[in-house]
């Protein structure tokens, strides 16, 4: 069971309080009707499915209820960072201390 830091509550809590909500930084287009079928498919379904540091969303369902973003290594399942929704994505270099 993962331990997850909610950036709003500023507490590290067990996974049972949270719901995974898929890849992060997949923004719904401003004007969906202007999207081609292929672009809409990409928004709906195409995911990076990263093996390694993965930008993803979680919701603190049984806590504050807020959605937030996280960077988690999908190989070790370790969280590198969590940050509020809407905040810019932290660079991997800043998280791992290595160059990307």
């Amino acid at each position: 069971m993962l331990l997850i830091h909610c950036p709003y509550c500023d507490e590290t809590l067990p996974e049972l309080e949270f719901a995974h909500a898929g890849e992060a930084h997949v923004a719904r287009p401003e004007n969906p009707s202007a999207q081609s079928d292929a672009e809409w498919e990409e928004f709906l379904f195409i995911r990076r499915n990263v093996k390694g540091p993965h930008y993803e969303r979680w919701r603190h369902t049984h806590g504050c209820g807020r959605f937030f973003n996280a960077v988690r290594d999908t190989v070790s399942d370790r969280f590198l960072a969590t940050y509020p929704a809407g905040a810019p994505r932290p660079s991997l270099a800043s998280l791992t201390g290595e160059s990307e």
Binding site: A21, S33, L44, F67, S76
Partner: protein, 1004 residues
């Protein structure tokens, strides 16, 4: 006193004899014995039969790694379990222990015929035969194979015991209470940390329990242990025995299974049998010690052949001499001490056979002093004895040549192939291992978790070294948590350090392909099986394991993995790390299902959600149905009524008088804020801007893929406030979806969302006389068609209770939904029932609700739609605000396939005979005469007997259905084909005249 009990030895209590039954006979042991030690005290070595060859087997170990001595333990009805380790099961008066996998009895097992034909049953033999004729596999081969396989017998009754689960948080968890673990716990605790120390055995001490000769800090080992445990207690360390660390999960969560009652004669009231702990530790110290390896040679599996370390444990911990005339066969120094100690305990050691040409002179000298014969540079090639080892054949080996053999008589053969660290939990962390050529074993390397390994687990040997390492690791862990700690060195006298060499199979003068040199005892995997697997192209240890089943027995390779790896590597001519070690999987030892399930049994398997009104429905004799986690009243039968009769009556009452329905399970979400209307416009397909406060609208929710997700009536209470209802099952999903869009896509919208499902009791009242009932009870709203038309909402009081009153209908009759604060629901229900009785008020359940809504063609999302249905498919285009620039699902609806012709569309179906009720789920075809596979054009989604329609009705999704009105389709059933006509979806009051509210004083 039993024949093999050694007076003055052991930690068992000879003054407290305990009688239990084994194989139908009473056996006497002492308090503190395990089943295995008690049997050995009585000279009984034969305890089980192996998996494949049904070979007679005795205990080879003294701990949880035991592969052979597996028994069925039982304590009366419902309390029986297969495959219990005799070496771990403590005895108590009345315990029933039965042998397994043998017939007719343990000492004479017909299954042992397999052993005669062992050459046929080589590794993977079953992949090569049993294929002809094809039909024989199911009918003959497989049933025979299955009957022969398996070990014990499954329980056949429900378990009367209970199980508990708990959380525990600590600074440091130490796994294993041997010298390293004790020292680590002490050091960390003295540094002021909270420490939990667990051990799978009945008492703490680990190897110290088998080494009373040592003196630590000037005290005899056992006295030191007593003092140390007292010190730990004083420091607040939580010491948990009979507690197995079963698995190492993410971020230092360890599963601990604590066994509470299996060792007790009387079951205490209110005590669970086992308790599963989810322990989260800042740091973990793994001090699980090392496991002794068997030697691999022909006949190494006979009862009486045992690990030397196990013999030491039986002698020192249990006061049991495992034989009178032992032979020691070893490649490691440690086994020599077994010879010395047994000799001192009255046995006559026949020989110490060491595979090494030059064992340490000090040991040889000590043997000589005791008059024990030493054969150095020898191998063993065979043993004899059917139910107990009688002799071992040994040969000198020089320069790889096996010399002339000698048969040495014995009644037990104590072997040691050296020791291998216990790395199971470390492996669970996905930690990496490094091969240590000197010790011929893997040692722990890196792990992503915050854990360290101490003591024999990282290849250290001897009490002094492991104590020191434990203390050091305790200090290291304390330092990493910001605590200073000192790791005092404790002087140890009488320590037995030593070393050894490692072998594959022992050298033999026989054909290796004939040798029955066992590697995995329980699964009967021999060295030649492993070599055969390699010969057949299995190159990774994973393939070898799976092909031979080596390491897949209930000891999970604790006995066999390293020997198997060494032999496979040798056969492949590659270094061990190139061949790899199979991954250790949780749990560390087999663990009861009950412990995992914990409290989640029976009614507690999952929460049952009940409305506030539910007790009244139960009192009224309602029949319930599960709907998601809820239970809902399905119908209210009167005496003698079946469901159809009751439902027909409930519908009739509703359509002629008043029906009352508990709709509290409907999801309710309060959408509030200056931007509430904009939010609603974006989420739902419908336009909301022009909906006036006090009015309601049917709302349709899509996913961004364009398919229907949910629906419900939505009331606008104020300019900035909506009362949204959802389906019963969809409430949580809808709220989550709303929150997702609000928080992450449209954070600029000033809106709050609150789940109010459980804040309201909702009672639906439908029927022509409903106004008569409500008018005297409602204050604050005038119940007339003009003042409160259909699809209105108002805040008012009903029977004096604060209420939100909706004028809505899911039946086609005049309808109201009264929402009152949830706790007031039962009072309102009763008040309405009393006031409505003279008017013919009748409670109805979900089934009548379904019938009446279907009569009106109202869909149920999830029944008439299935996640592939668009608004147009469901005939709900009217609910889609086409002028809106965007809403969730708008772009999805424009995808090519969602607008293509030939989609399945919701229609009504009437069977042409006018009497046949279709079956929900039945498939529809156009041409009933076509052969299978038929071209199906749709299916029946809803079907009910309808008094209102005067015939059975159905809803269906049919390809191009909206363009097929009046056409005949066919529903092929197993026994006949039913013809039906496609119609519209409304079967009752298509003009909606009945929705109107009767004027006050008018006729109903």
């Amino acid at each position: 006193m039993s024949r093999f009990r050694v007076p003055g030895r052991g930690r068992v209590n000879p003054d407290r004899p305990v009688t239990f039954r084994f194989d139908g006979r009473p056996v006497q042991g002492c308090e503190g014995d395990t089943v295995a030690s008690a049997l050995l005290a009585n000279g009984i070595h034969l305890m089980g039969r192996s998996f494949k060859y049904h070979r007679p087997r005795g205990a080879v170990a003294a701990g949880s790694e035991e592969p052979n001595a597996l028994i069925n333990t039982r304590r009366g009805p419902g309390r029986a379990e297969p495959n219990t380790r005799a070496t771990m099961q403590e005895i108590w008066p009345g315990l029933e222990a039965r042998p397994q996998n043998c017939w007719p009895r343990l000492s004479f097992d017909l299954g042992a015929v397999n052993d005669r034909a062992y050459m046929l049953f080589s590794a993977g033999f079953y992949y090569k035969t049993f294929m002809w004729p094809r039909s024989f596999w199911d009918k003959l081969y497989e049933p025979v194979i299955r009957a022969a396989a398996g070990l014990g017998v499954s329980p056949s009754e429900e378990d009367p015991d209970t199980y508990a689960s708990r959380y525990l948080h600590t600074d440091v968890l130490v796994v294993g209470a041997g010298p390293a673990g004790l020292a680590a716990a002490r050091t960390a605790a003295e540094a002021g940390l909270r420490v939990v120390l667990v051990d799978e055995h009945a008492e703490a001490g680990g190897t110290l329990l088998s080494e009373p000769q040592a003196r630590i800090a000037g005290l005899p080992a056992w006295d030191w242990l007593t003092a140390e445990l007292a010190a730990l207690k004083a420091l607040g360390v939580r010491v948990m025995t009979r507690t197995t660390a079963i698995g190492y999960y993410h971020q230092n969560m360890i599963g601990l299974c604590q066994r509470l009652t299996d060792h007790l004669a009387e079951l205490p009231a209110d005590t669970p049998r086992e308790r599963m702990w989810r322990l989260r530790a800042a740091r973990v110290v793994l001090a699980q010690g090392a496991l002794e390896k068997p030697l691999v040679f022909d006949g190494n599996d006979r009862p009486g052949v045992m690990l030397a370390g196990a013999a030491q444990t039986y002698l020192h911990r249990f006061g049991v001499r495992v034989g009178d005339r032992p032979v020691i066969l070893t490649s490691h120094d440690s086994a020599w001490h077994a010879a010395f100690d047994l000799q001192d305990a009255g046995a006559k050691v026949a020989a110490i056979v060491d595979t090494r040409a030059a064992p340490p002179a000090a040991l040889a000298g000590e043997a000589q002093a005791r008059g024990i014969r030493v054969l150095a540079g020898f191998t063993a090639t065979a043993t004899s004895g059917r139910l107990r080892v009688r002799s071992v054949r040994v040969h000198p080996v020089s320069a790889g040549t096996v010399g002339a053999g000698e048969e040495i008589a014995c009644d037990c053969l104590l072997m040691s192939g050296g020791w291998t660290p216990s790395l199971h939990l470390f492996s669970h962390t996905k930690g990496s291992l490094a091969w240590d050529e000197d010790r011929t074993t893997f040692l722990p390397a890196d792990t992503p978790e915050d854990c360290v390994i101490a003591g024999a687990g990282r290849g250290l040997w001897g009490i002094a070294a492991t104590l020191a390492d434990g203390a050091e690791k305790g200090a290291e862990v304390a330092a990493s948590l910001g605590r200073g700690a000192s790791a005092p060195a404790l002087p140890v006298e009488g320590d037995r350090t030593g070393s050894g060499t490692s072998h594959t199979e022992l050298a033999t003068d026989r054909s290796p392909s004939r040798a029955r040199a066992f590697v995995d005892f329980q699964n009967d995997v021999t060295a030649k099986d492993l070599r055969l697997a390699v010969r057949e192209g299995m190159r990774s240890i994973e393939h070898v394991k799976r092909y031979t089943t080596n390491g897949m027995a209930t000891d999970q390779g604790k006995m066999s993995n390293i020997n198997g790896l060494n032999i496979a590597a040798d056969a492949l001519g590659r270094a061990q790390p190139k061949v790899g070690l199979t991954t250790f999987r949780p749990p560390y030892t087999p663990t009861s299902f009950g412990a995992f399930a914990g409290y989640h049994r029976g009614g507690h398997f999952e929460v049952t959600r009940r409305t506030a009104i539910d007790p009244l429905a139960e009192a009224a004799g309602a029949v319930f149905e599960p709907v998601g986690q809820w239970r809902r009243a399905r119908y209210f039968p009167r005496p003698g009524e079946d469901m159809d009769t009751a439902v027909a009556r409930e519908c009739r009452a509703t359509r002629t008088a008043i029906g009352m329905f508990d709709a509290s399970t409907l999801g309710k979400i309060e959408v509030v804020g200056p931007d509430a209307v904009e939010f609603m416009n974006r989420m739902y397909t419908n336009p909301w801007t022009k909906l006036q406060p006090g009015r309601c609208r049917y709302g349709l929710l899509l996913g961004d893929d364009g398919f229907i997700r949910d629906d419900g009536v939505i009331g606008r209470l104020a300019h900035d406030r909506f009362h949204v209802t959802t389906t019963t099952g969809g409430a949580a999903r809808v709220l989550n979806m709303m929150e997702d869009y609000l928080q992450t896509e449209w954070p600029e919208l000033d809106v709050w969302l609150t789940s109010t499902t459980e804040q309201w009791s909702t009672i639906a009242l439908n029927g022509p006389r409903v106004a008569e009932l409500l008018r005297p009870l409602v204050e604050g709203v005038t119940l007339t068609e003009e003042a409160f038309p259909h699809m209105s909402v108002a805040e008012c009081t009903v029977a004096g209770m604060p209420a939100r009153l909706f004028r809505v209908s899911f039946t086609g009759e005049t309808g109201f939904e009264v929402n009152v604060p949830a706790p007031m629901g039962p009072a309102l229900w009763q008040r309405l029932a009393e006031a409505g009785a003279p008017l013919g008020l009748t409670p109805y359940g979900t089934e009548a609700m379904h019938v009446m809504r279907a009569e009106k063609g109202y869909i149920i999302v999830g029944q008439d739609t299935d996640g592939t249905v668009t608004p147009a498919d469901a005939g709900l285009t009217w609910a889609v605000g086409k002028a809106k620039p965007d809403f969730v699902g708008k772009r999805g609806l424009a995808r090519p396939d969602l607008t293509a012709p030939g989609r399945r569309q919701l229609v009504g179906l009437l069977t042409e005979d006018g009497t046949t009720l279709l079956e929900e789920g039945a498939q529809i075809v156009l041409d009933p005469a076509q052969p299978v596979p038929m071209k199906m054009v749709g299916h029946v989604t809803s079907a009910y007997r309808s008094e209102a329609a005067g015939r059975p009705i159905a809803l269906a999704l049919v390809e191009g259905g909206h363009g097929r009105m009046g056409e005949t389709v066919h529903i092929p059933m197993p026994d006949r084909t039913i013809a039906a006509t496609i119609t519209g979806c409304v079967f009752h009051d298509p003009e909606n005249t009945r929705l109107k509210l009767a004027a006050p004083g008018g006729d109903a």
